[in-house]
């Protein structure tokens, strides 16, 4: 699964640590999702997209 979290982070000028704190997860989890090593749960995917005021389909795409 591909995602654009890194792009959205850059657009919002957010570090991985800051985003992780906002979402209540660890920085390593954000890093693992960005690198495609971990696919987030549906709940976390929705929380991420909601945080960036966009849709899940826009942030995540099935490869």
């Amino acid at each position: 699964m591909k995602n654009k979290i890194k792009v959205y982070r850059a657009m919002h000028d957010l570090t991985q640590d800051a985003l992780a704190k906002e979402l209540g997860v660890t920085r390593q989890t954000i890093l693992a999702i960005e690198k495609g090593k971990y696919d987030p749960s549906l709940e976390l995917a929705f929380r991420i997209s909601r945080y960036f005021h966009t849709t899940v389909e826009d942030v995540f795409s099935f490869d």
């Binding site: 570090t15 209540g24 660890t26 920085r27 390593q28 890093l31 090593k37 971990y38």
Partner: protein, 170 residues
């Protein structure tokens, strides 16, 4: 409680357990170490609940679950292997179930060349001398340590699989 404070207390508990183990041996009192281990385990879980700065999310829970599951499966194989080998070793001994009977040749009461079969069954203290039970305790300890190593191995594997040690590209 902070995470580092918890780790310091955890270390002190481990050192105390070692001292109590030594004391238990010195006083020949197994009750001391048995009660200490249970108390230490309870104290560990109570203190762990009070740690406030450990962030646990779905990925860390997934790593925990997968590690625990793999460790249980590998440990069952390890324990079964050692246990079966031990059973064969013990019950193949001269006082074990290897022979239920023995023969008395040249008995004056029976015709020449004949044998009389005498049956015996080993009673538990003869089967496993009490002094050797300590060896089984040591063997169990070795297996627990082996299980810990298995846990650490799987922990590294799954943490790596789910990207803990990835490079930070910020």
């Amino acid at each position: 409680m902070k995470k580092n404070t918890f780790y310091i207390i955890y270390g002190l508990i481990a050192v105390s357990l070692l001292l109590l183990f030594w004391l238990s041996i010195e006083l020949s009192s197994p009750l001391i170490i048995a009660a200490s281990v249970i108390l230490a385990a309870v104290l560990f879980f109570v203190l762990k609940k009070r740690v406030t700065d450990i962030v646990q999310d779905e990925r860390t829970i997934l790593i925990d679950m997968k590690t625990a599951s793999a460790t249980i499966r590998a440990s069952v194989v390890l324990f079964l292997t050692v246990n079966l080998a031990t059973i064969v070793y013990v019950f193949s001994g001269p006082l074990g179930f290897h022979s239920f009977t023995y023969h008395l040749p040249n008995d004056l009461m029976i015709p020449a060349g004949g044998y009389v079969t005498v049956s015996y069954f080993p009673v538990p203290p003869e089967t496993i001398p009490i002094s050797q039970l300590g060896l089984f305790a040591v063997l169990q300890l070795v297996m627990i340590v082996a299980a810990l190593f298995i846990y650490v191995g799987f922990r590294f594997y799954y943490a790596r699989k789910f990207g803990v040690w990835g490079e930070d590209e910020e």
